[in-house]
């Protein structure tokens, strides 16, 4: 199945990408983060990451579906 990942802030700088489209086997959103961390070496504490699918926060155990758009949310700092 195909999913897209949007990168922001530290992760955008680390990957050099704003968006990446991938063909993946079914997995949770956290599994996908761990796979991308292996690929890019984000150097972020995994426990600090929050996850959004299609612009809504989800639990890390949420399974991805074909066509989902994922964001790995590093600590936010609005305000």
């Amino acid at each position: 199945m195909k999913v897209s990942i949007l990168y922001f802030a530290q992760l955008r700088e680390k990957t050099g990408l704003s968006k990446e489209v991938l063909e993946i086997d079914p997995c949770s959103v956290e599994d996908l983060y761990i796979a991308m961390d292996k690929k890019y070496d984000f150097q972020m504490e995994t426990s600090l990451i929050k996850y959004a699918i299609n612009e809504n926060y989800v639990e890390k155990t949420t399974f991805l579906k074909d066509g989902d758009e994922v964001i790995f949310i590093t600590p936010v700092a609005g305000g």
């Binding site: 922001f8 809504n56 949310i73 590093t74 600590p75 936010v76 609005g78 305000g79």
Partner: protein, 137 residues
Amino acid sequence: MFYVFKDDKGVESFLSPNLLPESGALVEFHGVVRNHDEGKAVKGLLYEAHESMAIKEGEKIFQEALTKFKINAIYGWHRYGYLKIGESAVKVFVEASHRKEAFEACMYAMDEIKKRLPIWKKEEYLDGENHWIAPKK
């Protein structure tokens, strides 16, 4: 309504509060870029945002505030892009019949905005260094 503006585009068009006749209190919060952080001299802040998700999340927070507190209206915006010292990054306006509810709802909305909006901030210091910052405890 919650808005997200890139740079200062749109900020000027955000009208001054048009108070409802039943509102006896208006609380207005401005989050402003200051010239220091943890002992370092700050030159400016670069905010990055997922704009459409930030708008959705901001709207959710305002709807929660309307449910939790006896207020008449809540509206505001957050900016992203590069901001200089003294510029406002965020503004929240709350109208209520009485001040207590307006203050409490404004505090709630700002706490949630800082925790939940997909907005990141890179501090740029006068000494030339910069880094992405995490929220204070």
